[in-house]
Amino acid sequence: MLLEIKNLHANIEGKEILKGINLKVNIGEVHAIMGPNGSGKSTLAQVLAGREEYEVTKGEIIYNEKNLLELSPEDRAREGVFLAFQYPVEIPGVSNTNLLKTALNEIRKYQGQPELDAMEFLSLIKSKMKLVELDQTLVSRSVNEGFSGGEKKRNEIFQMAVLEPKLAVLDETDSGLDIDALRIVANGVNKLKSEKNAIVVVTHYQRLLNYIVPDFVHVLYKGKIVRSGDKSLALELEEKGYDWIKAPSDSVEVA
């Protein structure tokens, strides 16, 4: 098993957001996490990546036989965890290439691999650029600065392509994309998908799942996974909305 989340509880600013998450992800699998706004999907993603602002109060996360919660954010990345941010951060003055070169070499160093020289790095990013149809000018610009929403999302997938994670968590990478951009992003992800990694996509929309076909679909609601199923669950949600799932679990809470 690549990832096992057991009874995870997490707070932000004293408020409990995650209230007992259980999730198992095997290598080679694609999981989709859906759920209404504010249900805790991004919180889960950020906790996986190690954002310090979230306080884990209970539960554990085993990743690749390690206690993930004990690792720093950078060590998680070096162990192969990647988060595509729902809202990628703009960093003026730091070029995409500089970020990626530093990141890649830090990861390689950690994994005991030799660092790439400038030439090797350039040819690597050239081939990865094609994957998400990013052009050179964007790649050499400051990280996400002045990028359109779609460009930012493609840039996240481009970074994923270069860093080749074992576990990629894509937080609403499809939101705000037109259908062409969606296709580019989804195709990129599909090319990166393999028997050696696993992908967790957080999404509101079934249309992404037409391209990236999940093995499992989970519904997160009020900090808990309230239902899991196969890809047909996503179709059902598309059709019926969340109310039929919300109602029973809300009543449970009242009771």
């Binding site: 990546a49 190690g50 954002r51 310090e52 720093s72 954010p73 950078e74 998680r76 990345a77 070096r78 990647f82 988060l83 941010f85 990628p88 951060v89 960093i91 003026p92 003055g93 730091v94 500089n98 970020l99 990626l100 530093t102 990141a103 890649l104 830090e106 990861i107 950690y110 400051s142 990280v143 970074q159 860093l163």
Partner: protein, 441 residues
């Protein structure tokens, strides 16, 4: 330990010795400047934090030392200057060791006809008319004790004159090297740059210490005149000893349509104070002031800038940035005066600071005094930490904490450094930044 009064007496007695050593120099017109400056000095008191202009900069540590006037070092050829030169740069180099011109270490290139790069001492000796015309005219010493001191001890420094219409292609590198050792010395470089009509040139004033922690006092004054339509690019790079005191002043007098660019890159001293005053004396002038300072330990950096929009249709653009760690202090005071007749003025000012520790502190104060009504002026100041979201983003990509910090600090600094057009100087500064933050390890 001496009190302020005694310190003044000591400087006065040094002046008496200095005057005595001048012999024939006493009849020179410049000596009038010295004499009125020293009598002004004797009337003034060293500033305390009670004075508005020195509110956050307590200079009492400077007044605890009795500094001796620097003496000429005759074996200066043994000093290795290579370390302080900019790689791959064709340029004229004029070196001063402890404030004295070193002919041996300097290397002046073939220059366009009429262009002068030389020691001010020599120019005074030759009774150069440009020197007599301009020296002491812009750096008013009336209420400034340090400028009075500088003017009283006027002796050496760089004199640069670019006649009308001349373009000096290669940058002019002025290196002020201090070699204090155990002697607590004071050096007072005095510079005069006159850029003639339609001329173009780039000047680098570079202050460096041979030892990282020598104690000395550098009190420098630079007067700059840009005649009509002249273009002058000025870089001041300060790499003083962390125990030194650097009081620096620059006065720029800009005539019609002239364009002056100033970069101040400072790694501080124990206390460093930089006064920058510029005045638009004709319409259509442009000036850009870029500043970056990085201080650590107990260093204090203070920049006081004054841009005087005395004439209409001038643009000034000022951007200072500070990076502070440990218990260091920063002061930025940016004054812009737009006089009654200075319509259509554009004045932009921004000061951003990053504080990397709980004990560092910045005092920033914009001061806009606007007397004209048809103007565009803006100012802003920020003091903050590194952006948490950006830090987390970098770390989530596998970049360690120190390196992520270094990358963000460097990006913050580069925002100033990238405007330096003289590439080798920019590379040199980038190199210092890189090694300061161990980014390359």
């Amino acid at each position: 330990m001496e009190n302020t009064l005694d310190i003044k007496k000591i400087y006065l007695s040094h002046f008496a010795d200095f005057e005595h050593s001048l012999n024939g120099g006493k009849s020179h017109p410049i000596h009038q400047l010295r004499k009125s400056a020293i009598s002004n000095f004797s009337e003034l008191q060293f500033p305390t934090t009670k004075e508005e202009e020195w509110k956050y900069t307590n200079i009492s540590p400077l007044l605890k030392h009795s500094f001796e006037p620097a003496k000429r070092i005759f074996k200066d050829t043994e000093i290795k200057v290579n370390h302080y030169l900019f790689d791959k740069m064709e340029h004229s180099l004029i070196v001063f060791v402890n404030g004295f011109y070193s002919k041996e270490l300097s290397k002046i290139k073939d220059l366009p006809r009429g262009v002068i790069i030389k020691s001010l001492a020599d120019a005074i000796k030759e009774d150069h008319p440009i020197v007599n015309q301009h020296l002491g005219k812009y750096a008013d010493f009336k209420n400034h004790i340090f400028t009075s001191l500088s003017s009283a001890f006027v002796q050496d420094g760089a004199f640069i004159y670019v006649p009308d219409g001349k373009v000096v292609e290669d940058p002019i590198h002025i290196l002020f090297l201090t070699f204090a050792g155990k002697n607590k010395i004071f050096i007072q470089p005095r510079n005069l740059f006159v850029a003639g009509k339609n001329s173009q040139s780039a000047i680098i004033e570079h202050f460096a210490s041979l030892a990282k922690d020598d104690i000395y006092f550098s009190n420098s004054v630079t007067e700059i005149v840009t005649e009509e339509n002249a273009f002058l690019d000025h870089i001041k790079l300060q790499e003083e000893s962390v125990q030194a005191f650097h009081i620096g002043r620059m006065d720029v007098h800009q005539e019609r349509n002239s364009n002056f660019v100033s970069h101040l890159i400072s790694f501080g001293a124990d206390i460093s104070r930089n006064d920058f005053n510029s005045r638009f004396n004709g319409e259509g002038g442009e000036s850009m002031l870029n500043g970056l300072f990085l201080v650590e330990g107990n260093q204090l950096f203070d920049a006081h800038t004054l841009i005087d929009h005395a004439k209409p249709h001038c643009n000034s653009h000022e951007h200072y940035k500070g990076i502070l760690t440990d218990s260091s202090r920063g002061v930025f005071n940016g004054k812009v005066i737009v006089r009654k007749d200075a319509q259509k003025t554009n004045a932009f000012q921004e000061n951003n600071n990053i504080i990397l520790s709980d004990n560092a502190l910045v005092n920033t104060k914009p001061q806009l005094e606007i007397f004209a009504d048809d103007v565009k002026c803006s100012h802003g100041a920020t003091i903050g930490q590194l952006d948490n979201d950006a830090m987390f983003y970098l770390k989530s990509r596998g970049i360690g904490d120190d390196k992520a910090k270094a990358i963000l600090i460097h990006a913050f600094a580069s925002d100033v450094v990238r405007y330096i057009k003289v590439n080798p100087v920019r590379d040199y500064i980038e190199g210092i930044l890189k090694s300061k933050f161990h980014e390359d390890q």
